[in-house]
């Protein structure tokens, strides 16, 4: 059974107030099924409703229709079982790196002894290679380092699903590349179930087991799944030479353009997964 099961999800935003409010459908009929240990990327243009989708899964906003089941249970509001890594890092600027992560450990496992909580926080900070910056404040860190702290905090919640909302979009290309590879390594080590929102096709192909495209708002919905059926860990150099990379890229672009799917993905519409190999 799937770990995360989304059925018939839709979300409208109301524009204007009192009387003449216009209803703007953002997401409609989102269906998504994610297995345990799967790495899923959802890719869409900016303004497509990607952040709305991740906020719905996180429980930060309520859907208008549809349901989200996590491990068979309907989700109810936000909770640490769905660790969120926000686009803008959302570190608390008045806490240092250690305290930011410790806050998460303390929140999800208050019953532990203080020493054990410290050890756990330190473990996750070392996992993202920030052991030397433990006592630094967010303002003293670069964007890439801040996002690593956010990753450490997300992992420290020990969530069932890790939700990443365009985590690297604010970073320069070189930093983004090294963080992507680091995320791949961490994912290999922890094997968390991950849902990552992105607008970077290469990033999605590098990291994901399955890619979904999100059509553009209003009324955005998910395209058929595109399976990236190649071994982890992948490296950029090794990947770009492979035919699967070209195929996945072409298919993702086609779906994003809203074009008619090619015969291979016509099958996918009927429920079968489009497998690229």
């Amino acid at each position: 059974m799937a770990l995360l099961e989304i059925t018939g999800l839709s979300k409208n935003f109301r524009r204007g107030s009192r009387g003449e409010s216009a209803v703007l459908p953002v997401l409609r009929d989102i269906n998504l099924s994610i297995d345990e240990n799967e790495f899923v990327c959802i890719i869409g243009r900016s303004g497509a409703g990607k952040t709305t989708l991740i906020s719905l899964i996180a429980g930060l906003i309520e859907p208008d229709t549809g349901s989200i089941l996590l491990g068979g249970q309907a989700i109810c509001g936000p909770g640490p079982d769905r660790g969120v890594i926000f686009q803008n890092y959302s570190l608390l600027p008045w806490l240092n790196v250690f305290e930011n992560v410790y806050l998460a450990v303390d929140a999800v496992a208050p019953q532990l002894a203080a020493g054990e909580k410290r050890r756990r926080a330190e473990h996750y900070i070392e996992l993202v290679n920030l052991g030397a910056a433990m006592k630094k404040y967010p303002r003293e860190l670069s964007g890439g380092m801040r996002q690593r702290v956010a990753v450490a905090r997300g992992l420290a919640m020990d969530p069932q699903v890790l939700l990443l909302d365009e985590p690297f979009s604010a970073l320069d290309a070189l930093t983004r590349g090294s963080l992507q590879e680091e995320l791949a390594r961490i994912w290999m080590e922890t094997r968390k179930t991950v849902v990552m929102i992105t607008n970077d096709i290469d990033e999605a192909i590098l990291l994901a087991d399955t890619i979904y495209t999100l059509t553009s708002a209003p009324g955005a919905t998910l395209g058929p799944p595109i399976a990236i059926d190649t071994q982890h860990p992948r490296t950029r150099t090794q990947l770009t030479g492979q035919p699967i990379y070209q195929k996945a890229r072409r298919e993702t672009l086609r779906l994003l353009a809203g074009g008619v799917a090619d015969p291979a993905s016509a099958r996918a519409k009927n429920g079968a997964t489009l497998v690229l190999q």
């Binding site: 509001g77 769905r82 959302s90 608390l92 008045w94 929140a107 999800v108």
Partner: protein, 257 residues
Amino acid sequence: MEKRIDANALILPLLGVSLMLMIWTAISLKVAPDLPSPLKTWQESQQYILNPFFKDGEMNQGILRFAFLSLVRVAKGFFLAIVIGTPLGFLLGLSPKFHQAFDPVIQVLRPISPLAWLPLGLVIFKQSEPAALFTIALCAMWPTVINTAMGVRSIGTEYLNVGRVLKLSPMKTLRKIMIPATLPFMFTGYRLSLGMAWLVIVAAEMLTGSPGLGGFLWQEYNSLVYSHILLSVLAIGLIGFTLDRLMGVVERRFKTA
């Protein structure tokens, strides 16, 4: 280049002060013969300044002694103001209903002068000291209330979302997220409140006749020693300026945190 800026920073304020002294002298010579000139003010006040801690009766003390008495009074009133004003600001910022209920009351109370509160304080407390504190607290409270409320309302949703995802208890959200996020606003409020409290002290001491800079000022007016009015005025100004600078330093410390 930098040397020049340094020189300007010294010369220009000196120029400003000298100009003021010249205008003051001119007024005392030509316009208001009762106004003591700077020189006369100095001659008649020097014992208060050169011997700032002497005491010769309740209403005849060195200037720093009076300043100390006033500062203690202001500290008490200011303390009351922030102890009441900070939680009030939090309530206003957190609850739109509370805000709707009490914002009109606050907007009406805010512009009331200390001269109006003081008689009311005397009616309520029957003694001058509590009445003075009541007046200082009531007048000085509003900047703290308003800035704290504004700070609470402007806490970024991203910080609150962190608390929601971690399912922090309301107390922990307050302690770990809301108070630290509001701190810079609170301290801006505290700085303005302290300035207000210092402004009110003169009125409070004048009307209650308590020993302090304001009380001294009023007594010397009644005894026709006008140079001492100027002495008090200058002391009040200098101390107010120092207080504001000190609070500014504290405020900046919390801004960067």
